[in-house]
């Protein structure tokens, strides 16, 4: 029974949730003695006012597209993958191994190799919890949380004891060779006559992320496998009755999800830092949850939500630079978005449904 028209479901509910989160964020800024309007202006100026700002916004957005898609694919199979952070960390390890130990002749081949290895590492890190859920019945949420911590320990060990160059003090790998330097948006846009900031980290990975959005859309809505994933997500018993194997869907959905989260590393590790450091992910795996919820698990929604969060991230950094508002404001906004678009969804939906029911009665 659809009480609400589709446009209300897809646009109105998330918009109202977002508005509530924005109002509360504004109140938080007021409460700590700052001016929310001035803060917003500063954020817009810093994140969208120059190609430098855009370069950072799009760089962060690229991360969030990958992790947001990762969470979305799992959501379609009604699996909650909180492990994006750990999978992205392992993806970073894959990228580092690919870039450091294989002598790539050209960056494009290096990028392909890095995508494969990052995806494979992330996929393996998601496949274990998936297997344990499908075969042994352990709860995927708990296992993926645990795997985040284990991933952090693995990465710490690898960086401190194995990959750190001799004599170096900080736990990080050596710099990647020049051959795998990815072209930035400046390099890509210059030949077609658009001047873009040289210093900003947005790079060719953005295009990979957009391609990933399209591929995920094709997978979920235009293939048999996607249909099976969605069917399983809507009703496990019905899917089983239709001959869809729960083990297979759980495994495949989580492997795709983990691979997407892992692939984030081509942006932050290969594209920006050009070496693997501790905490390279900076919580992007968790922001994927907010992005997927806000984007209603649709690739187009994820794309838009990722850019919005990219804007928040870069704008928040600018705020921290120019005002006394710390960067943690973004974490609060992220929490409020997750709360209102995810957990308190019904709080917005129930009154809206009542309004639409009343309108329909009048119409009859």
């Amino acid at each position: 029974m659809d009480v609400m028209p589709k446009w209300a479901e897809v646009v109105l509910v998330p918009l109202i949730s977002l508005l509530l989160a924005a109002i509360l964020s504004g109140l938080v800024i007021l409460a700590i003695g700052e001016d929310p309007i001035a803060a917003l202006k500063l954020m817009i100026d810093g994140a969208l006012g120059s190609t430098y700002g855009w370069g950072y916004t799009l760089y962060y957005a690229t991360n969030f597209m990958f992790t947001g898609l990762a969470v979305s694919v799992a959501f379609h199979a009604r699996l909650f993958n909180i492990g994006g952070e750990g999978q992205a960390m392992l993806g970073g390890l894959g990228v580092a191994l690919a870039c450091l130990f294989i002598p790539w002749p050209h960056w494009s081949l290096g990028l392909l190799g890095a995508i494969v290895l990052a995806g494979a590492f992330g996929a393996v890190w998601a496949a274990v919890p998936a297997y344990l859920q499908a075969k042994r019945g352990s709860h995927i949420v708990i296992t993926t949380i645990m795997f985040n911590f284990i991933a952090a320990a693995v990465l710490n060990y690898m960086l401190v004891n194995v990959l750190r160059p001799k004599g170096a003090m900080d736990p990080a790998t050596a710099r990647f060779p020049e051959a795998v330097h990815l072209p930035s948006l400046h390099d890509i846009l210059a030949p077609i006559g658009i001047s873009f900031s040289k210093a900003a980290p947005a790079n060719v990975s953005l295009l990979v992320a957009i391609i990933a959005c399209v591929l995920v859309w094709l997978l979920i809505w235009r293939t048999k496998l996607g249909y099976e994933i969605r069917a399983y997500g809507h009703s496990e018993s019905a899917a089983k009755y239709a001959g869809i194997s729960p083990v297979k869907i759980t495994m495949i959905a989580m492997i795709i999800s983990g691979a997407l989260a892992g692939m984030m590393a081509i942006n932050n590790v290969m594209g920006e830092a050009e070496r693997l450091v501790l905490n390279a992910t900076e919580g992007a795996g968790f922001i994927g949850i907010a992005v997927a919820l806000m984007g209603r698990s649709h690739p187009l929604g994820v794309f838009i939500a990722a850019i919005l969060f990219g804007f928040l991230y870069q704008g928040g950094a600018e705020l921290a630079l120019w005002t006394s508002i710390p960067r943690e404001l973004i974490v609060v906004i992220q929490a409020l978005v997750i709360l209102f678009t995810g957990a308190l969804d019904n709080m917005v939906r129930m009154p809206l449904e009542r309004i639409f029911l009343a309108l329909r009665k009048e119409g009859n």
């Binding site: 938080v28 409460a31 700590i32 003695g33 909650f80 909180i82 344990l132 042994r136 019945g137 352990s138 709860h139 949420v141 708990i142 296992t143 949380i145 645990m146 795997f147 911590f149 284990i150 952090a152 320990a153 693995v154 710490n156 060990y157 401190v160 004891n161 968790f286 949850i289 919820l293 006394s324 508002i325 710390p326 943690e328 404001l329 973004i330 974490v331 609060v332 906004i333 992220q334 929490a335 409020l336 997750i338 709360l339 995810g342 957990a343 308190l344 969804d345 019904n346 709080m347 129930m350």
Partner: protein, 326 residues
């Protein structure tokens, strides 16, 4: 390794296990009533901040403790609203609460104290100070020279803050409440079969809110312990994953109070050993990576959860919002 080192490690185990124990019992109440709570971490963090901040402002650790509990209860209320009243996803709500606490604590700390997201150092009446038992030795050198029995008495049993003894008392109290009272029976029933409880004319919503409330109080004490007893003040992200280790301990304990005590002390021991790599090397004759010890609780949880060492079966109605039949 001499006897004194062992006593020292056990002493550190107690100190480190207490916040895990309180958070674990908090989770036990919530999950036994059918409300999954992965927001233990956030509630502890919020309580740690408000305890330290209010204790620092008012100069009284007791007012600080109350403020910490109030902050934790507020987040419990949010979780209850999302997962009981509006029947939202309990896991997503927990994630949101963790981020809310992580962000808000730093934001408010910066606004109140301007010390880079921390509170001023606490001292004197702003902290829960160690309680020395009568006749207990207080300096390390004296204890080291004393007899083994005196070492245990002075180092291990005496010299903890009040909250340590309170936390240890909550274990039998939790057991009694859950298994020997009508409220406990109903609370466990509402986590297994809420429809049956509803049919018996008992409010499912009321019971679940009560459970979430108790969870908030215990998380509040755990957070206050972190910032006013274990350490002297709040620093950013000071809960450091303890809420998740508590969650792991809860599964390890299969949602039972006494086993929660054992599990949290085992995980506390790992944390204590992580701080003393020299002792491990001396005992087993080889170096163990610190990262491995740190990750051990998580690895063990995965193994336990996978049913390789006994089966951990959560409360049956856990995570499912209750919808009254019409």
């Amino acid at each position: 390794m001499d006897f004194f080192t062992l006593v020292q490690i056990l002493d550190a185990t107690v100190r480190l296990a207490i916040p895990l124990l309180l958070a674990c019992l908090a989770g036990l109440f919530s999950e036994r009533a059918g409300i999954f709570d992965i927001g233990l971490e956030g509630k502890m963090l919020a309580a740690a901040f408000f305890s330290a901040a209010i204790a620092s402002i008012t100069g009284s650790v007791w007012i600080g403790l109350l403020a910490g509990i109030a902050a934790s209860l507020f987040l419990s209320g949010v979780h209850g609203l999302a997962s009981i009243t509006f029947r939202g996803n309990q896991l997503i709500s927990g994630v949101a609460i963790n981020f809310l606490a992580a962000g808000m604590t730093v934001l408010i700390a910066q606004s109140w104290f301007s010390q880079g997201g921390r509170t001023p150092s606490l001292s004197g009446a702003e902290r829960f100070n160690p309680i020395d038992f009568p006749g207990a030795l207080t300096t390390t050198n004296e204890v080291k020279a004393a007899s083994p029995l005196m070492q245990v008495y002075s180092e291990l049993l005496s010299g903890h803050s009040l909250l340590v003894y309170v936390a240890l008392l909550t274990v039998p109290m939790t057991w009694w409440l859950l298994y020997r009272t009508r409220f406990g029976l109903r609370l466990r029933a509402v986590g297994e079969n809420p429809a049956a409880v509803d049919t018996a004319g008992v409010s499912v919503v009321g019971l679940r809110y009560a459970a979430v409330g108790i969870c908030g109080i215990l998380c509040g004490i755990a957070g206050a312990y972190l910032s006013t007893a274990l350490q002297a003040g709040f620093v950013k992200d000071m809960s450091a994953g303890r809420g998740f280790i508590a969650l792991a301990a809860l599964i390890f304990a299969k949602w039972r109070p006494w086993h929660a005590l054992y599990a949290t002390f085992l995980f506390g021991l790992f944390q204590a050993l992580e701080l003393r790599p020299d002792v491990i090397e001396a005992v087993i004759g080889m170096k163990v990576q610190g990262q491995f010890l740190g990750a051990l609780p998580y690895i063990m949880t995965v193994v336990i959860l996978a049913g390789f060492v006994g089966k951990a079966i959560p409360p049956r109605a856990g995570g499912e919002p209750y919808v009254k039949e019409r």
